[in-house]
């Protein structure tokens, strides 16, 4: 989905503020939210990582930007526990003593019909183009590189295909590629002639470009 989480290239944000010697967790609830996120996936196996990432993406954009990282972690996890029927929204609100905003629903038709690519189609040095897709569900090709051409720097092993994995689609694994894009092509006018952005992309997201 083209949601607020897909932040790459959005303008209007201020400086990046670094805290010196930042601890792993600042507050106890943050440690607990992190542990809940991992334990629901690893111990309970309530949902997988792709479903989890998508649950955060479905948060209302205003809530997403207002929330601390660990509030997003908790909101996504709680949303899935409710959607899977493990807990109810009502019991959470009673226990929390107030409102408990969850993420929005999954789109009606979240997956595109992208042909599975169990065998790698591309090699290091190939020129590829990212398909100009806009799935309504989970997808891990950032908008800023869609439609653009890049060069394959590296081929990684097969990993679960996130679009189907997040939406209970057929089991599917594909290679990913580290694809290098010229910054001057992604954002003409930013003046970064020799800078590049490398995006790690599943085979299905790509098409070959004849040299």
């Amino acid at each position: 989905m083209d949601g607020i989480h897909d932040l790459g290239g959005m303008q209007g944000f201020g400086p990046v503020v670094v805290e010196a010697d930042e601890p792993t967790f600042h507050l106890q609830w943050q440690a607990k939210a992190f542990a809940l996120m991992v334990a629901t996936q690893v111990v309970m196996r309530s949902h997988n990582t792709d479903e989890y990432r998508h649950s955060i993406e479905r948060m209302n954009p205003a809530h997403y930007l207002r929330a601390d990282y660990y509030e997003r972690v908790l909101t996504g996890t709680a949303t899935l526990l409710v959607e899977k029927g493990v807990l109810s929204a009502e019991e959470l609100e009673v226990a929390a003593g107030g409102s408990f905003a969850l993420a929005g629903p999954i789109a009606a038709d979240p997956m595109l019909a992208l042909t599975p690519q169990p065998e790698p189609r591309f090699a290091v040095g190939d020129c590829v183009r990212v398909l100009p897709i806009h799935p309504a569900g989970h997808v891990r090709a950032p908008q800023f590189c869609r439609g653009h051409e890049g060069l394959v720097l590296h081929r990684a092993p097969r990993f679960r295909f996130p679009d189907t994995s997040a939406h209970a689609g057929p089991h599917r694994k594909e290679h990913t590629y580290h694809v290098e894009f010229a910054a001057a092509d992604l954002w003409p006018g930013e003046g970064a002639a020799n800078d590049t952005v490398v995006v790690d992309l599943w085979d299905s997201y790509l098409e070959g470009v004849r040299a």
Partner: protein
């Protein structure tokens, strides 16, 4: 609509934890286990990897060929460390890591990501104007050095091997590791001078 009327985040977190524990889906020990695990993931781990790569040519080769195995060799492996790739800086090219869509990081070698890495500010800006962001963060790169920004969009988890600072010929491996901060492992800082 924005939701400003929520119960305090502490109460919401506790509501989820208490319900799962009451229903025996999880135990308090499970939660404590993952908190302790997270506290063992420290940027000092990655710093040791870098210091060894600087001083042990055979290890550097293994790290550049298969960083997952090379890090595991030093005991750094686990969640979000299933496929690690090390990015070696050169005098001509500087590497920077980001995750624009969430906040993926190689937990076992970098630790859980710091707040700045998870902020919309960093995620939105560093892919588009890396030179300006690095400058604001205190790292001024010469114009002829090209920047490669690595977006953690799939399952590869990256770590940067910064350039070894000048004047460190006589430093021990531990002294070298102390020069490598979390920020240097992500690429928004250089390794410190000794």
């Amino acid at each position: 609509m924005s939701n400003n009327g929520d119960a305090p985040i502490e109460a919401r977190t506790e509501a989820v934890a208490a319900a799962l524990i009451a229903n025996k889906h999880l135990s308090a020990e499970d939660l404590a286990h993952f908190v302790h695990m997270a506290e063992d993931w420290r940027p000092q781990n990655g710093a040791r990897v870098v210091a060894r790569a600087w001083t042990d040519a055979a290890f550097r080769e293994r790290l550049l060929t298969d960083a997952t195995a090379a890090c595991a060799e030093m005991g750094y492996a686990g969640l979000q460390g299933e496929y690690i790739v090390a990015l070696e800086d050169t005098p001509e090219r500087h590497n920077v890591i980001v995750c624009t869509q969430c906040s993926c990081t190689a937990w076992p070698v970098l630790g859980l990501p710091p707040n700045w890495y998870k902020s919309p500010e960093y995620r939105a800006r560093v892919v588009r104007e890396p030179r300006r962001v690095l400058r604001e963060m205190g790292l001024e790169l010469a114009a002829e050095i090209s920047i490669r920004v690595w977006e953690t969009s799939a399952e590869t988890r990256y770590m940067v091997i910064p350039l070894r600072p000048a004047g460190t010929e006589n430093c021990s491996v531990d002294e070298l590791a102390a020069l490598v901060t979390r920020e240097a492992l992500i690429g928004v800082a250089l390794a410190a001078a000794p």
